[in-house]
């Protein structure tokens, strides 16, 4: 179906079901229970899951297939965001032109940077992309202040022209982003007993675009073009000895992944019309590398898992403060309660990155293939019980 193999169709359908039912899956605990802390099914975080999923899928097309490690992908994300916000300021609050422009601008930007950077490979390529990204960050941060509004970030205001829309909404505020009238922030709330599920229009737009991005990525992975990219990764020298020029292939991959990043940036701005320079900083570029490796580089589903994992930690663990800890351990005697809180304290709240770092180390050391490899190991464990020695060649192989 969809002109892809059965195995990939199944994967696509699983991802589709998961994203469509995410409001249920991510909110497993009743709203007023103590475990509600771990619920992630609210619009903003769900949007981030799928948007950074798109970002990581795109990064994986470059890194997973060709092995070129770009350390400057956040630049494309930032450029996408800025173009989208400018569209909202100048044209209208409809998200379609904004998203289209952000993809195009990011693509052009990737073409320029890729053209220069891809003259080198390995560590030199990584350093070049990092340099370009930091350059873009510095430009956005202080030099191009009229276009980017520097550290404060580019925002909408009441006196933007918006030639195809209105500068001021009917009730005197800044109009909100919409898809032909369907407001991105509109949310349908479903109360089922003690549970609350939120279905957000913006999330479903992002989710549909992520499914599209995922489908295109499957097609690229299984195409002759994808095979060429894998050839670049396994032995570029041998490839050039056979008379093939690798650069057009790598450049195409670079531009495609840049456009994915631009799409992600445009969607971020469409969900929340603000673009800040810190979106382009090297830490943001490093984050997508972490996402891809954590999930499993070179696998189809890995980057999406990695993106979800990191965003979950950033948004859920960072909000556990001492108050919450005390309420968890309140059943213990006083001294013991304080001791437990002191022990757990460094790993939650502002220490969330420490926990994430430890998890990352554990994954890299014990599961070099990322979370996908972990899933396969567990799967194999169960399968072996059913049918010992069943063929394992169907397993998605992580990139070498």
């Amino acid at each position: 179906m969809f002109a892809i193999e059965k195995k990939d169709t199944t994967l696509l359908l699983i991802v589709a079901v998961l994203t469509m039912c995410a409001p249920f899956i991510l909110n497993p605990f009743p709203t007023d229970s103590a475990m509600a802390q771990f619920n992630a099914g609210y619009p903003d975080l769900m949007q981030r899951f799928v948007i950074f999923g798109i970002f990581a899928i795109g990064f994986n097309i470059l890194f997973g297939l060709t092995g070129y490690l770009s350390f400057g992908h956040a630049a494309f994300l930032g450029v996408g965001s800025y173009s989208a916000v400018w569209m909202f300021k100048l044209l209208s609050m409809n998200v379609i032109p904004a998203i289209i422009l952000s993809v195009i601008v990011a693509g052009v930007f990737a073409l320029i940077i890729g053209f220069v950077s891809l003259r080198r490979s390995g560590i030199y390529f990584s350093i070049l992309t990092l340099a370009f990204a930091q350059m873009s960050f510095a430009l956005a941060y202080s030099v191009l202040t009229p276009i980017t509004n520097g550290e404060t970030g580019l925002q909408l205001s009441l006196n933007d022209p918006r030639i195809l829309g209105t500068s001021v909404s009917a009730d005197g505020g800044i109009p909100v982003t919409s898809l032909f009238g369907l407001e991105m922030r509109s949310t349908y709330e479903m109360h089922v007993g003690p549970w609350l599920f939120q279905f957000n229009a913006g999330y479903y737009l992002c989710a549909l675009l992520m499914l599209l991005a995922f489908y295109i990525s499957i097609r690229i992975f299984r195409s002759p073009f994808g095979l060429m990219l894998r050839a670049v990764k396994s032995n570029q020298q041998r490839m050039s000895y056979t008379g093939l020029n690798a650069r057009p292939y790598t450049l195409a991959a670079f531009v495609i992944s840049g456009m994915y990043a631009g799409l992600a940036g445009g969607l971020l701005a469409a969900m929340d019309p603000l673009a800040g320079a810190e979106r382009m900083q090297w830490t943001a570029s490093g984050e997508v590398v972490l996402m891809t490796i954590l999930g499993g580089a070179g696998t189809l589903i890995g980057p999406v898992l990695g993106a979800g994992f990191i965003k979950y930690f950033e948004n859920i663990f960072s909000k556990i403060n001492d108050n919450v800890l005390h309420s968890w351990f309140s059943f213990l005697p006083d001294g013991l309660e304080d001791l437990m809180v002191t022990l757990v304290h460094p790993f939650v709240g502002k220490g969330w990155s420490l926990t994430l770092g430890l998890m990352f180390m554990a994954v890299v050391i014990f599961l070099p293939g990322g979370l996908v490899q972990g899933g396969q190991k567990i799967g194999k464990l169960f399968r072996r019980k059913k049918a010992a020695g069943h063929r394992s060649s169907t397993a998605t192989k992580p990139a070498e």
Binding site: A3, K6, M20, D32, G153, N159, G173, Y188, K319, N323
Partner: protein, 454 residues
């Protein structure tokens, strides 16, 4: 490559999923039950405290969070009640707000607009926060204020000193108790004239974001009105930690005053660099070289150590103000005492403004009789109060900015302990720092209409 294996089950499955996906958006619509976002319907009301727990303003953020916790305690009738007893409005009785117990959630802004908005969004969407407060950077405050306006909750700004917060970027749902760069400049100018004369050449180093820009603009305008000249203004990145490269050109610029438009960790580093380069021992144009830090705090003085001695700046509030300047600043001692009892040291001005904002919000809700942001906005606009440590104060309706006395302070020459690093030079009365709502430095924005959300 294409394989089309159509099975009945497969077609039905795919069709159902695609149908559900396509039909979903038509079911979505904003739900209106109570008329405003996150109307509290249990016996608690949730406030969101969004402060920097990492980045250059982390110290201020930690102190803000302490003040918020203290304010929540007092609102719920725990502790000694702090400024509730001195506050001129008496509707708060220690039973929470409108009979609902106050709960709170906290988050980390990381001193980044993006992260701050994500954190505020999760408070609004997940935790049901009805009010967001905090922030130690004007860039972040402006970004979060914009978000709160869109989402339809009240934003009670914490430490934000840029003119833009209640100027160009003001919002109907946003309120600021803290003073601003214009007020600092207006308060400092007479003192500067008295101390350093009216013939000076100033060199500005400015943090490169909304707060730095507006403060530099304000100080330049105020000092040029005294007869000073401005030699140069150099913008420095907020993330910078070493300012030596920016200090060297000052030596040969012919300037005899250095204005550091820096705050928090930035100011500690730039001041230390400037002193290391011997600027303070220099003679230029026959005058002693002077350094000015327009916005000041005890936390910064602590960080800068001996380098801060004798350096002039301004503050919104100081914990010593009531005991040194008299009963006009009542509330200060009550607050300092309950803060000191709980944490063991006196509060910073960031803590005071956050504590006051929380009380002001609670009081406005109690007076309005509802948590509806529009009703609270009406209760706060034009509200005159006293007893929160700053003397008589007005929440101006035109721009949601508080008008009150401003403190001009100086680094102590011989501090008796680490809590007396700053001494109060004088208090500039409200009238002297008041400006018209359409002053050019604040023009260009509009409050717009209040947004109750949902």
């Amino acid at each position: 490559m294409s394989k089309m294996n159509l099975t009945r089950r497969g077609v039905i499955k795919t069709g159902a999923i695609a149908g559900a996906g396509l039909a979903m958006p038509t079911y979505l619509s904003a739900q209106t039950q109570s008329g405003y976002t996150n109307a509290p319907n249990g016996d608690t009301v949730t406030l969101g405290f969004n402060v920097p727990q990492s980045g250059p303003y982390a110290d201020e953020g930690a102190d803000e969070l302490r003040a918020f916790e203290l304010a929540v305690e007092h609102l719920n009738g725990e502790g000694d009640g702090g400024m509730l007893s001195t506050f001129s409005s008496k509707v708060l009785d220690g039973t929470g707000i409108l009979g609902k117990k106050v709960a709170y959630v906290s988050g980390d802004t990381q001193t980044k607009s993006d992260a701050a908005r994500a954190s505020a969004k999760s408070m609004i969407e997940k935790d049901g926060a009805i009010m967001i407060s905090g922030g130690s950077s004007s860039g972040v405050a402006v970004a979060v204020q914009g978000l709160c306006q869109e989402a339809g909750v009240v934003f009670m700004a914490g430490l934000t000193h840029s003119n833009d917060t209640t100027g160009k970027d003001k919002k109907a749902n946003g309120f600021r108790h803290f003073f601003n760069a214009y007020m600092s400049a207006a308060a400092l100018a007479p003192v500067l004239k008295q101390l350093y004369g009216s013939d000076r050449a100033a060199y500005h180093l400015t943090a490169d974001y909304t707060w730095g820009w507006t403060q530099q603009e304000s100080i330049q305008a105020a000092t040029e009105a005294l007869g000073w000249t401005t030699v140069n203004n150099v913008l420095t990145p907020l993330a910078a930690t070493d300012f030596s490269a920016y200090i060297t050109p000052v030596l040969n610029s012919g300037a005899d005053v250095l204005v550091l438009n820096h705050y928090g960790g930035n100011m500690v580093n730039s001041l230390t660099n400037a002193v290391q380069f011997g600027l303070r021992d220099k003679q230029v144009n026959g005058k002693n070289f002077e350094i000015i830090v327009p916005l000041y705090s005890e936390l910064m003085a602590k960080g800068a150590g001996a380098n801060i001695k004798g350096i002039v700046g301004s503050q919104n509030w100081d914990w010593k103000v009531e005991s040194q300047m008299g009963a006009r600043y009542t509330g200060t001692n009550a607050f300092v005492q309950s803060f000191g009892n709980k944490y063991g040291f006196p509060p910073s001005q960031a803590a005071q403004t956050c504590y006051a904002q929380t009380l002001l919000y609670a009081d406005a809700a109690a007076r309005a009789g509802t948590f509806n942001p529009c009703a609270i906005g009406e209760a706060l606009a034009g509200f005159e109060f006293d007893g929160l440590g700053n003397g008589p104060t007005l929440y101006r309706a035109d721009d949601h900015q508080c008008f009150k006395d401003v403190l001009v302070v100086k680094g102590a020459e011989n501090p008796e302990d680490e809590f007396h690093l700053v001494e109060i030079v004088e208090v500039t009365p409200t009238e002297q720092v008041t400006y018209a709502p359409d002053h050019p430095m604040f023009a260009g924005g509009a409050l717009g209409a209040c947004n109750p959300g949902a």
